[in-house]
Structures are given as C-alpha cells and as structure tokens.
Symmetry: C3
Subunit: 157 residues, 3 copies
C-alpha cells in the first residue's frame, strides 16, 4: 500500500466509522474492527497521568459486540440521534502492518424534539491493522475532554 493509498484508506475508514455510528448501523460498524481489537474510552485527565481507569473498556471484539447488543436491547433512556465530525487526521507512523493514527472529534446529540447540542470533544488515538482487503481498527482509544456528561455514556463515541 503506497503512502497515498494508506492516506486515502485511513480517511475512508474513519469516515465509515463516523457515518455508521451516526446512522446507528452497529453491525456494519463492528465489521470495521479486527478480531482481537480493543475499544476504550478514557478521560484526558486519566490518560495524561497514566491512570488505568476507563469509562468504557472492551478488550476483545466479543466484549465490544456484547456491549452493542446490550445497547440495542436495553437503552431506551434519553433517546437521541448523534452526529460526529472528525478532523486533523494524522498518520503518526507505520510499523509493519500497524499504523498509528490520531484525529479530533466533536460529537453532537439531537433529542426527540429536534434540539442539537455538543455532547463532547476529544481525541481518537487509533492503531490500524493493514490487511489484504484494507484497514481495520486494532485499537481505538477515545480520549475525552468532556467527562462531565458520562451519565449518558452508553454508546460508543
């Protein structure tokens, strides 16, 4: 994969990630993750101090899948739609079939009355796996600045 191809594939993967979550198409969203993936949401404070506590932690794809299944079955509290904007996608480096990427996100929620508001901003710190058929997430760490609203943190960011 050339640098230009890697760049395009990285942007496409992140756009897919956001588009599928926004569309609440969780099954296709799960397909973007490698089999031995890690998904983690952590506050900026804890991340900067190296503290291990996470706001959400799925250490296998099975755990992530279970999380989504639970989400679909039980979460009917505070219904809303979401939209996320990504920016500043940076390919930090590549070693073998692993690519380190960072990006900034802003997440908006819209309630059933059509009112939208900022839910939070933060950083995606991703490790991508280069496979024959393209890229998938091997590790996705979401470092959130906006930790005061974690009461609502049922869904992936």
């Amino acid at each position: 994969m050339t640098n230009a191809d890697l760049r395009a594939a990285t942007h496409d993967l992140l756009a897919e990630y956001a588009g599928l979550l926004d569309a609440e198409n969780y099954q296709s969203w799960l397909d973007l993750f490698a089999d031995n993936c890690v998904y983690k949401i952590v506050s900026r404070e804890n991340d900067e101090q190296g503290l291990p506590a996470a706001l959400m932690l799925c250490e296998t794809k099975k755990a992530l899948t279970d999380r989504i299944v639970a989400l679909l079955k039980v979460v009917h509290y505070s219904p809303h739609h979401s939209h996320r904007l990504l920016s500043n996608i940076r390919i930090l480096g590549r070693a073998g079939d692993i690519v380190n990427v960072e990006a900034t996100y802003a997440l908006y929620h819209t309630n059933v009355e059509g009112r939208s508001q900022l839910f939070g901003v933060g950083l995606y710190r991703d490790r991508l796996l280069v496979e024959d058929k393209g890229l998938r997430f091997l590790e996705k760490i979401v470092v959130i600045d906006s930790f005061s609203i974690t009461a609502f943190l049922a869904k992936p960011i």
Copy 2:
C-alpha cells in the same frame, strides 16, 4: 477521471460549497449546481419514514436561483453570519457520470453581537454530475437532525 481525481474533486466541490455559503457569495455558489438540479432540506424523521414533506424544496435551478434572489432582497430579520464544517465525506458509488456522496455537516450562526452558536447538524446526501470541466451538484438533499429551529430556515444549509 481516476478514483484519486474523483476523490479530490469531490472534496473540493464540497469545500467550495461551504466556503461560498459562509462568504455569502451566492452567485458563485449557484454555479456549483447543474442546470437540472434539485435542492431539498428534509428532517431526519420524515426522511427515515419516507414522508415527502420538505422544509425547503427547489426542483429546478431556476427555483433555487429565485429562492436566493428572494433571500437577498427580503431577509433582514435576525442578521447573522454562518460557518459550516463538513466531515466524513464518503463516495458511496459511481454509475456513469453520476456519483453518490454523503457527508456530515455542523452549521454555526454568529449574531451581530459576535455570539456564535450551533444552528444544527445533519447529513448531506448528494448526487454529483461528472462533466468535462469538473463536478457539479445534480441533487443535494440536506437531512437535518435539528428541526426545532426551522423558524430561521431562510437560507440554504
């Protein structure tokens, strides 16, 4: 047009669209649309249920032009500037000279006192026409999550 060229041209067209609207350069903005274009704003609710009612509907370029002329002549209520951010641009497919594209937007308004706020978020669902001189919008459907503020919906999004 190669895939890489199409990708670059698509991103450029969407950036132009946003930049020209933000600069309130409506004449150049209209030039981005094909002669037989459709411009439509619809709520996510109606879109998901296949309901036909639109918040704004211009079924020809002439209708869209008239809309803009009316806007420039009569809208002096609630003056503001706007800025929009686009993200997650996805080329869904190409058939002949038609390209299907989706993107996420967030729109901000700033009033005359310099206060900015989120006006709304949503999805652009575009059909682009590949022409000799580049791309133009054949159809632009804006699916808005934020329908509670449609009292202000005088301008294109």
Copy 3:
C-alpha cells in the same frame, strides 16, 4: 511538488497545527512557522471593512515566540483544554513558492470540570511557504466571527 503532493502537505500542515495546539505542544507548533512569519487574529467586521485593528498581532516569529513564552509563564486564569476542528481546506492558488489557503475552524474549550463549549468559529486565511523540507506558515490570519469572547483571547486560535 505536484498538485497531489501539495494538497497532502497542506492538509498535513493544518492538521499538525491543530493537533499541536490541542496538545499544548507550543514548541513544536512554533516550528511550523517560517522565520519571517506573521500571525494575526482579526474580527470579521474589521476584516470586511479593511480596518487595521487586530485582536492579536505578531509581525515576526520572535514576537510570536515571546507571546507563547508569556502565555506559558503567566496564564493561569480560567484553565482549560482546547480542541479545534478544521474543514473546507481550499488551495486558492500558488505563485512561486507561496501558496494561498483558506480553511474553516471551530474551537471548543473544556474547563477543569469537564464541561465543553464552543469558543468560536471563523476562517483561517493562510499563506504557506514551500521549502525543500516541506511547508511552513508564512502568514496566518485568523478571521473570527465570534468576537464577543475576546476577554479569553490569550492563546492562539
């Protein structure tokens, strides 16, 4: 530098700019500027009317560096983290080793209690210098719509 390379390098430079400011890595951020750079923040009102008054003006890299040093030494008022999203990056033209670029930004602040809010939106109007080792900012003009919050304008945008 081909058009495709220039495009990629421009996007990378802007992503670096945002990422380094968000990470509060000011030393590396300064390295993105050419030696004879200008950094200026101006309100949209003043910019549109050609009025010279700026909200921040550093006419040399030394002045910009001094500004950052002062920032790091004395600003402990209203501590917060920031995240910025960039969009609609447009390469307007190239003349010799100078490239004119515009982009839209939205800037978010998060306070120590983890509450995030929109700080402001506006336009980057940049002149980039093409050098052997890549691109650097020769001039960065930030045209802000959101001028009602300039009491907090201690940091670069």
